[in-house]
């Protein structure tokens, strides 16, 4: 459309960026405005309404959960919940990444390993992790282990398959070349292929974090004594939307931060990765 093109030409790059940011913010502004309006209306109608708390009510809840120690336990509830949840997700996703890396590398490079594990891995990736959560609770108890195991089982097959495909894409020439430079098989796998799949591994972890949060919150909702998911499902009984909404926002921010940090790490540590695009 010529009109649009002419408009675009006239704006400076800085102005274009500014208008893009404004445009991107618009849906956020809209939804907040709609919420505030609806909340105001409902509260005007019935001051006891709990469904759409006002900003002041949420601020009061944040103060209670985040900034004041709990009168019974003496803990800051939000901090304790965050710490418990992050520990579980780090353990689960971290162990899945490590195991997925080793399994994927060996399946991608050694034909025997692929024949041995590939069908099983395909099977494992088809099992819905939430469906075996009861089994995990029965077998491993309702403590930390079963929650970490759930995240592991949900994330591991995805990462292992991703790494396997990445390792298989490494050109055969590179491996033959390594042999002529005096490399052993272990050198090839752990010295030359592993460093090349490492950024892809971090990417795979980053992309599977969404799933990891899902499994975490599901496990915490069912059996737990602390954790972000536990808290949300606990206060749900009292219809405490003033707590649930800030918690959801906080979880979203955590996910956002983790994603951003991992992307920054890849960009800084693996400068070649973006250019080569493994």
């Amino acid at each position: 459309m010529p009109v649009v093109a002419a408009e675009a030409k006239q704006t400076s790059p800085a102005a274009a960026v500014r208008s893009n940011v404004l445009l991107g913010l618009l849906p956020f502004v809209l939804i907040v405005a709609v919420y505030l309006f609806a909340s105001h209306e409902r509260l005007a109608d019935n001051p006891q309404d709990k469904l759409l708390p006002s900003l002041a009510q949420m601020a009061e809840a944040i103060d209670r959960y985040a900034l004041q120690p709990d009168p019974q336990s003496g803990q800051y509830v939000l901090a304790a919940d965050t710490w418990a949840s992050l520990k579980r997700i780090a353990l689960g996703a971290g162990s899945a990444a490590l195991a997925g890396l080793l399994a994927g590398l060996n399946m991608g490079l050694i034909a025997r390993a692929k024949t041995l594990f590939s069908p099983f891995l395909v099977f494992l990736s088809m099992v819905p992790p939430l469906a075996i959560l009861p089994i995990l609770f029965i077998a491993l108890g309702v403590d930390e282990l079963s929650k970490v195991a759930l995240i592991f089982l949900g994330v591991f097959p995805v990462i292992a398959r991703d790494i396997q495909l990445t390792a298989e894409r490494i050109p055969r020439e590179q491996i033959v070349k390594a042999l002529t430079l005096g490399a052993s098989s272990a050198d090839v796998i752990y010295g030359l292929v592993l460093p090349q799949v490492l950024p892809r591994l971090i990417d795979a972890v980053r992309l599977s974090l969404g799933g990891a949060w899902l499994f975490l919150i599901a496990a915490e909702a069912i059996a737990s004594t602390e954790g972000l998911g536990y808290r949300i499902f606990l206060v749900r009984r009292y219809l405490s939307m003033d707590v649930i909404l800030p918690y959801v926002f906080w979880i979203t921010m955590l996910g956002f931060a983790a994603d951003w940090l991992l992307r920054q790490f890849i960009a800084r540590r693996f400068r070649w990765y973006a250019a080569v695009g493994a």
Partner: protein, 305 residues
């Protein structure tokens, strides 16, 4: 023939080598012997099995029958006595130029030595980069270099191991014509300075003749006593083998009448599917050249001469 005695005493020796993939015969009765110090270019129409021959010499694949010797030892798997430069993927994208060149050294050392000798290797690689005019690029990653520069690094990387043969498979095939000529001159100068043995596979006639002190023509376009029946499976053979004067010539030599005439002849015997010479009529004039024939064919050849 025992593996210990290098047949013919040559650096590279192939005798009666066949390679088939299932029903498809790719290489047929390859006889090839290359002396040390030769810059041997191998030319042939695309799909004639040049790269298959390359992989057999590397030991990446095994001959269906016949044997391949490098320096008197039968080839079993890729090893440090044969360095490689490919058209692509010779360099490791996650390593800097310096680390790519150092790789041959670091891999040779044990795990603890790698850490201990790090500085020593670094100095050596840097020295090597200086000699090859790449020092200023030491800290860059391969993707930050031009295609020509990447290939220079790949050559340096292979030469660090001091291989007995430098194996090159279409190394300049992805470069633009000007860079390609520069690289040809560069390779010739390097070859003259180091007196290496180079096995250079290409489909570019001019490149093969310009570089080679010997040009081997590999082709499936030939005939023999089996005739042209539909059931005859025929793989590529060495149909021509030429000795050429060795010198770093200006690339202008490609325009001379001699050069053009030779290119014309090779194109006819190797690349033209309608020109079929009998196995006994191949032009094998290089002194290292030899040919093993079926008894029938040998009789016919004797009768002819």
């Amino acid at each position: 023939m025992s593996a210990g005695a290098a047949p013919g005493g040559r650096l590279l020796h192939l005798e009666d080598v066949y390679k088939a993939y299932g029903e498809k015969l790719v290489l047929e009765n390859i006889d090839l012997s290359v002396s040390a110090g030769t810059l041997c270019s191998v030319v042939g129409p695309s799909g004639c099995g040049k790269s298959t021959l390359f992989r057999l010499i590397l030991g990446q694949e095994e001959a269906t029958s016949g044997r391949v010797f490098v320096d008197g030892r039968q080839v079993a798997r890729p090893g440090p006595d044969r360095g490689i430069v490919y058209q692509r993927y010779s360099l490791y994208p996650h390593l800097t130029v310096l680390d790519n060149v150092m790789l041959g050294r670091t891999l040779a050392a044990g795990l603890f030595e790698r850490v201990r000798l790090r500085h020593e290797h670094r100095d050596e690689a840097r020295h090597f980069l200086e000699r090859t005019g790449l020092a200023e690029h030491a800290a860059k990653y391969p993707h930050e270099l031009s295609g020509g520069m990447q290939q220079r690094v790949a050559i340096a990387q292979a030469l660090v191991k001091r291989p007995k043969i430098l194996m090159m498979d279409e190394p300049f095939g992805a470069l633009d014509p000007e860079t390609r000529e520069n690289m040809q001159v560069y390779l010739l100068e390097l070859w003259e300075a180091e007196r290496m043995t180079i096995f250079f596979v290409t489909h570019d006639m001019e490149e093969a003749i310009y570089l080679g002190t010997r040009v081997v023509v590999l082709s499936q376009h030939y005939t023999d006593d089996r005739g042209r029946g539909p059931g005859v499976r025929r793989g590529a053979r060495v149909v021509g083998d030429y000795a050429l004067p060795s010198a770093v010539n200006s690339t202008r030599v490609k325009k001379t009448a001699e050069f053009i005439a030779l290119a014309e002849e090779i194109r006819r015997i190797g690349f033209d599917p309608d020109v079929l010479r009998h196995v006994t009529e191949f032009n094998l004039q290089h002194p290292d050249s030899f040919q093993t024939l079926e008894p029938e064919e040998a009789r016919a050849a004797r009768a002819r001469s």
